[in-house]
Symmetry: D2
Subunit: 93 residues, 4 copies
């Protein structure tokens, strides 16, 4: 069980919608849609993916990281460092 | 025909690979994968999407925008503004 | 006292270096430097600012948020939500 | 003369305002301001820097890149590639 497990169905629904956006992008490219329209849809899919990431991150901090902090010990510090590295990857992607 | 039309198959291949990444994310969530591992894959998919966008943008500038500039007239200015707005959406997404 | 207080001097040094980068940008613009060279320096300053933000965020989570979680109660949840909102602003900027 | 030369004073004014934001950040850190408030100001400064970059880029494309395209020859292609690399650095920073 992880932070997002309670909202698993909601995350799956969002990821399926993003999969639909990516398939829509394939249709646009296949139909020679105008470049700027393709780019607008790429930006929309990117934002949807980042919203999923931000949701997962919030639940990760409030569950997994919080549990490690409540338990204490060296594990708490490792969890904060791990979450910080994930935040850095997200900010830079 | 648009800037990316010559590379259409390459773009479709990249978008299909991204679709595979999104389906992989659904499997990870469905299998209760560790949050940080899910986030790492979300970052990878986001970067792949942005690489597609940067490729489309470069071809758009070197074809559609360049053609409008070569032709001259008010259209050239409109194309530069439109491309700039797409770049801004990309930077902010 | 906050998460970053122990590293205050290091943060001040980094912020002074960023201030120097911004003044360098003013000199470049004033000297009519080539646009792409100005943009390269803007990207460098942006990355330096984001590195400061990621550092502050890690210390905030490992101190302020961790303290609230250890204490427990509604404050813990509020701190996680506040940190998540700051992460979202960072990802979207 | 470059794309931004006509707006040089406006860019200098914006960069001086960003310099003020960075000095404000130093005061906040020096005064032990709350981490989240510091982060909010870092996000604001980052957005202001990126707005400067987007402005410079638009003027670069509509002047330097457009001139190279109008002149034609291998230089046009080099300018588009150079601008695309700058856009990529911006998207990834």
């Amino acid at each position: 069980m992880h932070g997002y497990s309670g909202d698993k169905q909601a995350y799956l629904t969002r990821l399926r919608r993003i999969e639909g956006q990516i398939r829509g992008l394939q249709r646009m490219v296949d139909d020679d849609a105008y470049c700027i329209d393709v780019l607008t849809q790429v930006s929309a899919a990117t934002r949807a993916l980042q919203a999923v990431a931000l949701g997962l991150l919030e639940e990760h901090i409030s569950h997994c990281v919080a549990d490690a902090i409540s338990t204490g010990g060296p594990e708490a510090d490792a969890k904060v460092k791990e979450a910080s590295a994930a935040i850095a990857r997200l900010v830079r992607s």
